[in-house]
Amino acid sequence: MIEAWVSGFTSVFAPSALFLLLIGTGIGYAIGFIPGLAGAFALAMLIPFAISMESAHAVVFLLAAHAVVMTGGSLSAILFNAPGTGANVPASWDGYPMTRMGQGGRAIAAAATASAIGGVVSGFVLMGLIPVVRAILLAFGPPEFFMLSVMAYSFVASVTGRYPFKALAAVFFGLLLSTIGTDPALAIPRFTFGTFYLWEGVDLIPLVMGLFAVSEMIKLAISKKGIVSGGVQIGRDVFQGVKETFQKWFLVLRCSGIASVIGIIPGLGAELATFMCYGHALQSSKTPEKFGKGAIEGVIGAEAGNNGKEGGSLLTTLAFGVPGSSSMAILLGFFITMGIIPSPEMLKEHLPLIFSMAWVIIIANVLGACISIFAGRYMAKISAIRAPLLVSVLLVVTVIGGAASNNNLGDIGTTFLFGFIGYQMDKFGYSKAAFIVGFVLGKITEKNLFISIQIYQGAGFLLRPLTIILAIIAIAAFAWPIISQKMKKNRENNEK
């Protein structure tokens, strides 16, 4: 084991591998930064280059790019409210308000540091969980997936702030929208209005681009001001962001841990990990009322989770050939092409390769964070650019990004439609966060509920021990904020 650990380490530090790691990190970061272009796009674009390389080099190159796409994506989420993927969305909930307050540098630095620690933890999780991955995987079946998604809804209920009923309406709107497309259970096209465009459902990327980026640009265009109303603080601000993240080290570790476990379980999607981590950061905060208005813990929690899930996700992909996300599915295809066939044997026979992958994740994440921290102080200045100029440039990038990921012109229409819907939701106080959670998790909930009922031929799946534990956590997560608030009020009344 130790021999494999060392051999994995030295193979990554060979000059040629290290060079490819640097290039991969740079490209991945840049692609992640462009709104709308995410991990799957980066990999699809880089595979033609990688295919001519020696297999160990190709793996280093692709994995490095994949590992930092999220770090780059969080930058555009924080600066322009234009998250590149669903998983970057929670970073914008507090990151963008911080940018508006002129603290973009601080938010970027905190996000980068949390991402790096999350990535490093996930690399070590990948190494450490090899002996127990099988047990974890077998413990989680469709009933547990279903209950985990229910748990995420209950977390969101506490995230949504002052108008719980409007938030609930937004969740249902998201759930409703997720029913468009091929029914995940019966594979029957549903609400597709006779067009193939909707067979795969509304695509997440144009939806996120419209809902967050385009709606924000409409607002900016109307206000005619830059993103930041006051001045932009840089310089010491960046180092403060790094420092604050280290001060909240326990939160970072907890979120990375949660994300790693969710990452191992296939089929839950990248988004669930970040949503859950954001929810956890909020619930464990002493000042939950600041969330959504620029709380640095929100950024830290979401980003630690975002990069924290990768190690676990890679482990499942390699050991069982079950990809946790679309990027992992592409990587899986490529691994097979390169002669790396996923199987439980892989964990025994190719241990040095797995360790070198873990090292790539760790190093690339640290490099990505360095880029963010050093570039962040300059990038934050972009937020002070006047609206007409900023909006016209961003709109072009966003629209191209929205359409490029699927190579489909229909996505441009979708981007603008949800831009308008997002703008109206903001205007009337409906939570876009709740909407996106409903949309993303809708299919997971539906699919796993349906499979569970089929397996148990009824509701018997609810009596599985792990399902019961998860249900209790879900209820507690929902009820605790209400109970604690009541207790606080009672105490205040008693004191009076």
Binding site: G141, P142, A185, P266, V322, A329, S343, E345, I451, I455
Partner: protein
């Protein structure tokens, strides 16, 4: 002056007529050769997302198409919309100019066509088939820890056999047909998102069996995670062949024919086709070029390096097999009824 104008008009009229005819009637058909493709762009449609098996084959092959046809470029275009049906319709609509080719999951294409899925605008037999890429026997597998080791074990089980399934896809139809041929009662557990999840479902015990291609299942069978019960397909494999099992358990002639038709379609699992209505001359040129590409030692070496088996079969023979498969299924009333029952007109 008038005379000159007349001359110009006559010239223009002749020129326009000539160029129109030139468009309608292709160059002297007999004189057509590879130079027809000179400077032209070819689109290679892939009905799935990038990264999967179909995509990999298309990307591995495209440089070799360029090597043997003087095209300017071969552009691989992924069009996964509608589970690949949008790409099939696009191929059916494309002009018969040899500039659009597609790698097709033949079984799914034929079954969707026979089930009269709404929105389909193609007929598999009408495409110009250029080559078979791979044959893919399917294996029915169970959990090695269970008592289900043979078809006989499944027959003597006193309950329905649960099949882990994606939905109304070809692997589900294969599993159902295998069980039906042996009169084994079954139920489907639908909704899994891919072969990896189906395999996990059997390992975890969510379902009893699933059927998938041999290349997908082999690593798990070799690792002892799954047990192979029965193989269906025409290719020789190192696992037990279905016919022996069928003889031992005495299945009916009708069911045997049905399994034979199914094996026939698995035999042309991944194939490449061009637009319908290609002129015989153009078809010949393309088939020859594809033959050269498929037998190129460099292509074979890169496919081997990528762990992608190649079972090349020429275009004429592939065309015949597709047409035969469609005909066989159409003539098998009980099969057609079953396909329509499974799809339930739901599309």
């Amino acid at each position: 002056m008038m005379h000159r104008k007349k001359l110009v008009f006559t010239f223009l009229a002749v020129f326009m007529l000539g160029s129109t005819l030139g468009i309608i009637i292709p160059k002297d058909a007999a004189a057509l050769d590879e130079s027809y493709f000179k400077g032209k762009k070819m689109t290679f449609l892939v009905p799935f997302k990038p990264g999967g098996g179909f995509d990999t084959y298309a990307r591995l092959l495209s440089p070799y198409i360029k090597k043997y046809l003087p095209v300017r470029n071969v552009i691989v275009k992924n069009e996964p919309a509608g589970g690949g049906l949008a790409a099939m319709n696009r191929l059916a609509r494309s002009k018969p100019d040899g500039r659009t080719v597609m790698i097709i999951q033949t079984g799914a294409a034929v079954i969707n066509e026979l089930a009269e899925v709404k929105g389909i605008r193609y007929q598999s037999g009408k495409f110009t088939w250029l080559a078979r890429v791979t044959s893919s026997p399917n294996v029915l597998v169970s959990n090695p820890k269970s008592t289900l080791k043979t078809m006989g074990d499944l027959q003597s089980l006193n309950r329905e056999v649960a099949i882990a399934s994606i939905g109304r896809d070809f692997s589900t139809i294969t599993a159902i047909l295998m069980l039906k041929a042996f009169d084994i009662p079954y139920r489907t557990v639908m909704g899994y998102s891919g072969s990896g999840e189906q395999i996990m479902a059997v390992i975890r015990g969510d379902a009893d069996v699933c059927a998938l291609s041999i290349s997908t299942l082999k690593p798990s069978i070799d690792a002892g995670e799954l047990h192979g019960i029965m193989v269906l397909g025409k290719m020789e494999t190192d696992m037990s062949k279905f016919s022996e099992e069928a003889d031992r358990l005495n299945i009916s002639e009708k069911n045997r024919t049905m399994l034979g038709s199914l094996a026939g379609i698995l035999d042309i699992y991944r194939s490449i086709a061009a637009s319908p209505g290609l002129s015989p001359e153009l078809a010949r040129i393309m088939r020859t070029a594809f033959e050269k590409a498929f037998t190129d030692p460099d292509f074979l070496a890169s496919a081997k390096k990528s762990n992608r088996p190649v079972h090349y079969l020429n275009g004429e023979e592939t065309q015949r097999l597709v047409e035969t498969a469609v005909e066989n299924f159409k003539n098998d009333a009980s099969f057609m009824k079953m396909v329509k029952d499974i799809f339930g007109g739901a599309y």
